[in-house]
Symmetry: C2
Subunit: 123 residues, 2 copies
């Protein structure tokens, strides 16, 4: 029932690792873009706007290594590289969407809690 209660420590760390990956600065945004269809490197970079090439490359490498994203090179001049979500990558959407929905429905309550907490400290 609970995320880790019945799991051994290794499995729990695994879950935490997954959360860290998705919770990092760019993964969610990249997966979001690719969720709408394959994109080339530059197109992806343009859509994300403020990301550096370094981080885009690194994040894509991680996603590729974990089998979430496929990388297809089309030999040409200039070269073309297309990134797309794999089946597993798409699958990942479902549980993330659940967490997203939870966050949206609780956003007001969280804000209220923060204001209450901060207000109390000012006194």
């Amino acid at each position: 029932m609970k995320p880790c209660d019945t799991q051994d420590t290794g499995t729990c760390q695994r879950i935490s690792e997954m959360l860290s990956r998705i919770g990092d600065k760019w993964t969610l945004l990249i997966v979001r873009e690719l969720g709408q269809g394959p994109l080339r490197f530059s197109a992806l970079k343009r859509r994300l706007g403020s990301i550096s090439q370094k981080m885009l490359t690194a994040t894509l490498r991680n996603l590729e290594r974990d089998g979430m994203v496929s990388r297809t090179v089309t030999p040409a001049t200039p070269p073309q590289v297309e990134y797309a979500l794999t089946a597993m990558g798409h699958d990942l959407f479902r549980p993330i969407a659940a967490l997203a929905e939870w966050t949206i429905t609780h956003a007001d309550a969280i804000d209220a809690a923060r204001q209450a907490y901060d207000g109390q400290r000012a006194a």
Copy 2:
């Protein structure tokens, strides 16, 4: 359907923020412990083993500020402080459990993808 597709940028950032919080080094482990019942500061620290007091305090403060955890002080010598999940904190379990389940069922596929990726680079 998708986590952020239909959401404005602010909401998407909100979701990312939530993922970062849960994905940080200690939050999941702490929430996991408190999910089984309230605990005092030292007991929590003992259970987590390798955490520093600083990080335990900081993480608990964040959770308290967001309304996920309640902090109850019992005046005494020595002082007693008990931490417990709030209703909202318990609620958080559900979407996290979904992600945990996903991770467990795909763990083997991810491992295989990593080995394939790493193996190819060695050549």
